[in-house]
């Protein structure tokens, strides 16, 4: 199905490409033969009913599935032409290049400053304190949190509101200057105002990072993304321009899902 539309969806310089990816949890296959491209200039949204494998596929893109016992990935996933599952690939560096934001905000029980500085410190990105200050301020500014926290950088990250915590987690991911940011339902624990802030943020970050977002909220997918992939039962049913998917889906199953017939 992706083949049919690939000409009009052609991405000249994809950041990541997945080809014929299968994912297994033990005996059970959670992802079946999925191929997709991710670009820096476009936000990609993954939608689909619960349990269809969105998170699973997202987690293969930065090899977070490695931490799950019994999980196995087949197929090829390339980051700038490099196979991320090749033995020569360093997972640590891969994850520095492909960051992740989780469904539930998960700041470390450290100060706001240290939360953001955690990644750069590990990767040795800011040798001096002054450099680190710059990195932290830049990341918090980009995440739209700087003005709210600049006077209390020493306070614990866990003391922030849910929406602020999630933006802190985005700042934390941005701070290591990744190429791709994966977001797994980043707004599902947030109220509408906080959600709007995150959506605005995704908008601002587009073009600087390749962004992939999993969401259950159709309006959100329509608002923030330019490409949408619809998953069902582990397969990629339809992938296309967000406007096409929502106004003129080619597959019956996509249409049923979009119109709320199931899911």
């Amino acid at each position: 199905m992706t083949d049919m539309t690939s000409s009009e969806l052609y991405i000249a310089d994809p950041k990541m490409t997945a080809q014929n990816v299968n994912v297994f949890y033990g005996e059970k296959q959670a992802i079946k033969n999925v191929s997709i491209d991710v670009s820096t200039d476009l936000v990609t949204a993954f939608i689909g009913p619960s349990g269809c494998g969105k998170s699973t596929f997202l987690r293969t893109l930065n090899r977070m599935n490695d931490t799950v016992a019994g999980a196995r990935v087949e197929g090829k996933i390339m980051l700038e032409g490099e196979d991320i599952y090749a033995p020569s690939m360093d997972v640590v560096q891969l994850r520095a290049r492909v960051g992740m934001v989780f469904q539930k905000p998960n700041p470390f029980p450290k100060s706001i400053y240290d939360n953001v500085a955690y990644g750069p410190r590990i990767h040795g990105l800011a040798p001096s304190k002054a450099d680190m200050d710059v990195v932290v301020e830049k990341a918090l500014t980009r995440a739209g949190l700087w003005d709210e926290v600049k006077d209390r950088l020493g306070e614990s990250g866990t003391a922030l509101s849910g929406g602020q915590q999630q933006r802190l987690c985005i700042a934390r991911a941005i701070a290591v200057d990744p190429e791709v940011i994966l977001m797994d339902e980043p707004c599902s624990a947030l109220d509408p105002i906080a959600t709007a802030k995150i959506e605005e943020l995704i908008h601002d970050l587009r073009g600087k990072f390749a962004i992939v977002i999993v969401t259950h909220n159709m309006q959100q997918a329509a608002r923030v993304s330019q490409r949408t992939a619809f998953f069902h039962l582990g397969t990629l049913v339809e992938y296309g321009k967000t406007t096409d998917i929502f106004t003129n889906p080619k597959q019956e199953r996509t249409k049923d899902y979009i119109t709320g017939r199931y899911g």
């Binding site: 016992a69 640590v92 960051g99 992740m100 989780f102 539930k104 470390f108 990644g119 590990i122 990767h123």
Partner: protein, 458 residues
């Protein structure tokens, strides 16, 4: 006829069984006759009768068996045969005991000449009181059973009654532990007060000379500081230097690296280690570790090293505490949400960095609580220090020398020939009180920390 408690118990239990059957049958019969439904199922009526039959009778039996020996003795003393007994003291008690033993059939013949005439009155009195007791008990059982039996009606709420009785029984059972603790504390307190009338509290708490003598208290011999220091050196310093790193590393390995199979085997093994009797650790400390350490000390040029050393006791105690620390640390690390770990890994941190920089700091409050609990256990530990640390009250920081602890001294003060009102003996209670207070405080603080920490992640 003697007062055979076991047989009586069986007998009453048999009666209760009959009561149970009768109660059940009656409830069914009444319901049938009146044609309406029972409020409670028949067996509850049975239980109701059985409990009323059993409980008062057993309660009485317990009390009676506690007071009847005194009643018997009084009766014997009132008898004419007892008129020419020596008035007081040891001899009189011996004669009475001798006569009682013969009367109860525990001895064939009297050993003391003067007790012979007392045997008959003893036998009589014993029989008399046993008869009274047994009759009263059966009367009570029957009265209770009849009372309950007559209350059975179809609409009678036997189930709620039985449940209430069961609840009361459960409350009483839990009160036993609480009241016992309370009693222990009170006795500690009273004996300590007696001690502090002889020796001032400030001397015990701040004095530096520990050399208690029998007889009247001598000044400057009840200074507890050397004991407190020894306790701290062994239990809180040396043992923790051993237990904290090893316990933490074990916990980190088990929670983060070990395969489920390894975890499945190692955790129970550690728990077994925690169940080894401390006296076994004591042997190990005294017979293996202490001589080894002494040789080592001599080798590195410490000539006055003793075979009993703080180090030997502390190290072995640390080993004993390892399972405790590791299981607390294990729990705390497991309580840190998986999302925290994922967050760190997703930033490109290695598992090692994740553990050191995220998991352990996040688990630290819980681990601290666990360590405090471990300290409180270590300072109350007795067997190892008695066997390996020695009894000489040295105030020294040299881990190769012999030191003593509060618990070891309590044992020393209370063993051997004692008069139970000398300052020397009473000092054991005062030391016990100090130890109790310190452990109690440690436990309270530790449990609060752990609780707060748990709340933080719920």
């Amino acid at each position: 006829m003697t007062f055979n408690a076991a047989a009586l118990l069986l007998l009453v239990a048999g009666l209760a069984l009959i009561g149970w059957l009768a109660g059940r049958a009656r409830s069914v019969l009444l319901a049938h006759r009146a044609g309406n439904k029972l409020h409670s199922r028949p067996q509850y009526h049975g239980w109701y009768v059985a409990l009323w039959l059993f409980a008062p009778a057993i309660l009485f039996l317990t009390i009676w068996s506690a007071v009847s020996p005194a009643l018997v003795t009084n009766t014997v003393l009132d008898s004419p045969a007892a008129q020419n007994l020596p008035q007081f003291g040891f001899e009189r008690a011996a004669i009475l005991a001798d006569a009682r033993a013969v009367a109860q059939g525990k001895q064939d013949i009297v050993r003391l000449e003067k007790s012979a005439p007392l045997v008959r009155p003893y036998v009589q009195a014993t029989r008399q009181y046993a008869l009274i007791g047994i009759s009263a008990m059966f009367a009570l059982a029957l009265a209770g059973g009849l009372y309950a039996f007559t209350r059975i009606r179809p609409e009678f709420r036997a189930r709620s009654r039985v449940e209430k009785i069961v609840m009361v029984a459960l409350i009483l059972a839990s009160l036993v532990a609480i009241l016992t603790t309370f009693g222990i504390v009170l006795s500690l307190l009273f004996e300590s007060i007696r001690f502090f009338k002889l020796v001032s509290p400030s001397e015990l708490l701040f004095g530096t000379q520990w050399n208690p003598q029998s007889g009247a208290p001598v000044k400057d011999t009840f200074g507890g500081i050397p004991l407190f220091w020894g306790t701290v050196l062994i239990g809180a310093i040396i043992a923790m230097i051993v237990a904290i790193p090893i316990g933490m590393m074990t916990a980190v390995y088990l929670t983060q690296y070990a395969k489920p199979v390894v975890r499945k085997w190692v955790k129970p093994l550690l728990e077994i280690l925690a169940g080894v009797p401390t006296v076994v650790y004591g042997y190990f400390a005294a017979l293996t570790v202490a001589p080894m350490l002494r040789e080592f000390a001599v080798m590195i040029g410490i000539s006055n090293a003793s075979t009993e050393s703080a180090l030997a006791a502390g190290i072995v105690m640390g080993v004993m505490i390892i399972p405790f620390v590791s299981s607390m640390a294990d729990d705390s690390i497991n309580a840190v949400p998986q999302s925290m770990r994922d967050g760190s890994l997703a930033l490109g941190a290695t598992p090692n960095e994740t553990i050191r920089q995220v998991l352990i700091p996040a688990a630290l409050p819980g681990v601290m609580g666990g360590i405090l609990l471990a300290v409180s256990r270590a300072i109350g530990e007795t067997m190892i220090v008695v066997m390996a640390a020695g009894l000489s009250a040295n105030l020294t920081a040299n881990p190769f020398s012999s030191v003593t602890t509060v618990t070891a001294q309590i044992v020393k003060l209370l063993t051997g020939d004692q008069e139970f009102d000398s300052a020397k003996t009473l000092a054991a209670f005062a030391l016990g009180l100090v130890l109790f207070t310190v452990t109690l405080l440690l436990n309270i603080v530790a449990l609060r920390i752990v609780k707060k920490y748990r709340e933080a992640y719920d």
